[in-house]
Amino acid sequence: MKRIVILLALLAAACELPPRNTATTTALRTADTTLTGAVEEYVMVTTAVTMPMYVNHDQATFRRWGEKRGVRVSILGPADWDVPAQISTIEEVIGTRPSGLLINGTDPALGPVIDKAVAAGIPTVVYDSDIPNSRRHAFLGTDWYQIGKMQGEEMVRLLNGRGKIAYMGILGLTNMEAGFQGLLDVVKKHPGIEVVGKFDDKANVEEATRITSDLLAAHPDLAGLCGFDSNSGPGIALAVQEAGKAGKVKITTVDWEPEHLQLVKAGVIQMLAGQKRELFTWYGAQFLYDMVHQTNRLSGNDARAGLTNVPATVNTGLIRITRENVDEFLNTAPAQ
């Protein structure tokens, strides 16, 4: 027993505690570009790597950027929405010392691992949603609160300030919760609008359809629905069409995949709050490249001066797509 106690005491003494200073600062460190690998390689790490919206916009653009620049690009991450697995992937990638890391900011839990990448001297850019509790070098993306606000304002306009509405998305995701808040902040100023519920469609078309069908049965006077993930819109639209209420129940949602655009054209969805996702990864990758190559040197030695030679935060803005301008998007050929 005595031996065990001594052994445990020794082990406890050998333990190395984590540092007390949590990464709450937004101060940036400048990349040490001397640490980049022999082969110039930029790595994107996301979660839900197979999600069509990510594949068609973020990843296609990132690959195209790599081809234009003549550098190697790699895309990694779990197939499902799994933030801990994304963190694990980033941790394993850091050890391979890529030239730059482009990280989809899916959750503030990424903060410590982003700091680890920065501490390892890897230029690190976050896109889509910011991770403000990290030391990332730059962020490019959409303000999700504004997405919710845009949907709220459109819904108030479509319903003339009166009627029951519901909204859905993936509950628990920081960016979507910010979007929900944006919507609620707008509608609470209009007492004629009644919010009947917030629902988790799990980014699944079938689930969004089921929730909408149930809502339409429970509230025959439901006037509007707002969607916050890529599959919300098609799911809501399907249930509304099946109930024979297309055009009567107003729908606003996010993203502008071909099926969303067709539904706007058909008058089933009234407005899309689109993100400029192509800009996230094109300029995100370019920022990394500019850091590695010191394209715009701002001082004799930016690293020693504590400078980052790219913008710290870029809001790429939103696209408002309605029946009036939808043809412009339907006719858009993919960028070459």
Binding site: V83, S88, G95, T174
Partner: protein
């Protein structure tokens, strides 16, 4: 040699060794480093702790689909108690474990004493507990956790982060218990022939109840360790973990029919998956292929094992019977 290969623990250990050797030759700069290998172990530690419980369940012929949700729930409850109620770390940890144990108790009681099908019961519980995790974390997760709670997973011993040591301790303790105690040996009898086990005087229902409680408790421990490692309680944590863990346990030698498996197999199954995943990341294989490759590996390993057993059965029928 054939007998050794027939034991999944040895054949898997050999395969892991081969993968490690090839990876070290192909990626000499990045794979065989202390940093990379300790990272691999850290990344599989949470799954392995849950896999130990799942192995015991599968030995007795059942499985639990709610473990991934319990991982999120226990972390969420602990975070709520510590951050929102302001109670000490010990109270948060205890609350997290109690909540996990309660889930296991409900699962075990309804399955063992009320006869609900384990798949249906744990599938339903998966949704209920995930909803509970979302409710308790206020949908956005509890962001600021106390320093000493984070220190549970973020501390290091001999340069290796603590969850790796907790994983090794869990595997060691349960491997010892499964080999040396009558209580755990009974699960093999239950999995082999539940009716015969019942007739021989084993309290099958009570044993089943405890196996679900134990599995949930281990998932609760894993949830606390994950929240502590991330410094936040994510309501989305553990999504898909149940299938990863079942895959690891099957790879490690368990059978869905019950009666087979060793605790060490759970560790090796998870280690195998962790190594394959690491090699794919080093090779820059995208997520699409990772899923396909892991699925193919699972089928290949089980098929090869079956073929080897059939051949041994043909050559040494008595050995198979024993």
């Amino acid at each position: 040699m054939r007998t050794l290969l027939n034991d999944r623990v040895y054949s898997l250990a050999l395969t892991i060794g081969l993968i490690g050797l090839v990876a070290a030759l192909v990626f000499p700069q990045t794979f065989p480093t202390f940093g990379n290998l300790s990272q691999v172990l850290l990344n599989l530690s949470i799954d392995t702790i849950v896999a130990v419980g799942m192995m015991i369940l599968l030995i007795s012929g059942v499985f639990d689909l709610s473990v991934g949700s319990v991982v999120a729930f226990s972390g969420g409850i602990a975070a709520y108690v510590m951050s929102t109620l302001g109670w000490p770390v010990a109270a948060g940890v205890l609350a997290g474990l109690l909540s996990a144990g309660l889930v296991g108790l409900v699962n075990g009681y309804l399955i063992a004493y009320q006869g609900i099908n384990p798949m249906i019961q744990t599938l339903a519980m998966m949704g209920i507990v995930r909803g509970g995790a979302l409710l308790v974390s206020g949908a956005v997760g509890t962001r600021v956790l106390p320093y000493w709670f984070n220190a549970i997973s973020q501390s290091k011993l001999l340069g290796v982060q603590m969850p790796v040591w907790y994983m090794l301790l869990t595997v060691g303790v349960f491997a010892f218990l499964a080999n040396r105690t009558v209580f755990f040996r009974r699960y093999y009898y239950i999995g082999g022939n539940e009716r015969a086990a019942d007739l021989s005087g084993i309290r099958v229902r009570r044993m089943k109840l405890w196996s679900f409680v134990l599995t949930s408790l281990l998932a609760g421990v894993a949830g606390l360790l994950l929240a502590s490692r991330l410094g936040t309680a994510l309501p989305t944590a553990g999504r898909g973990l149940e299938l990863r863990v079942i895959t690891a346990v099957i790879l490690g030698g368990a059978s869905l029919a019950g009666g087979h498996g060793r605790i060490l197999g759970a560790l090796l199954g998870a280690l195998f998956m962790g190594l394959v995943s690491n090699v794919m990341i080093l090779s820059r294989v995208t997520g699409y292929w990772q899923e396909i490759i892991l699925g193919l590996i699972l089928i290949t390993v089980v098929w090869a094992d079956l073929a080897l057993r059939k051949q041994t059965h043909r050559l040494h029928p008595r050995r198979m019977l024993s």
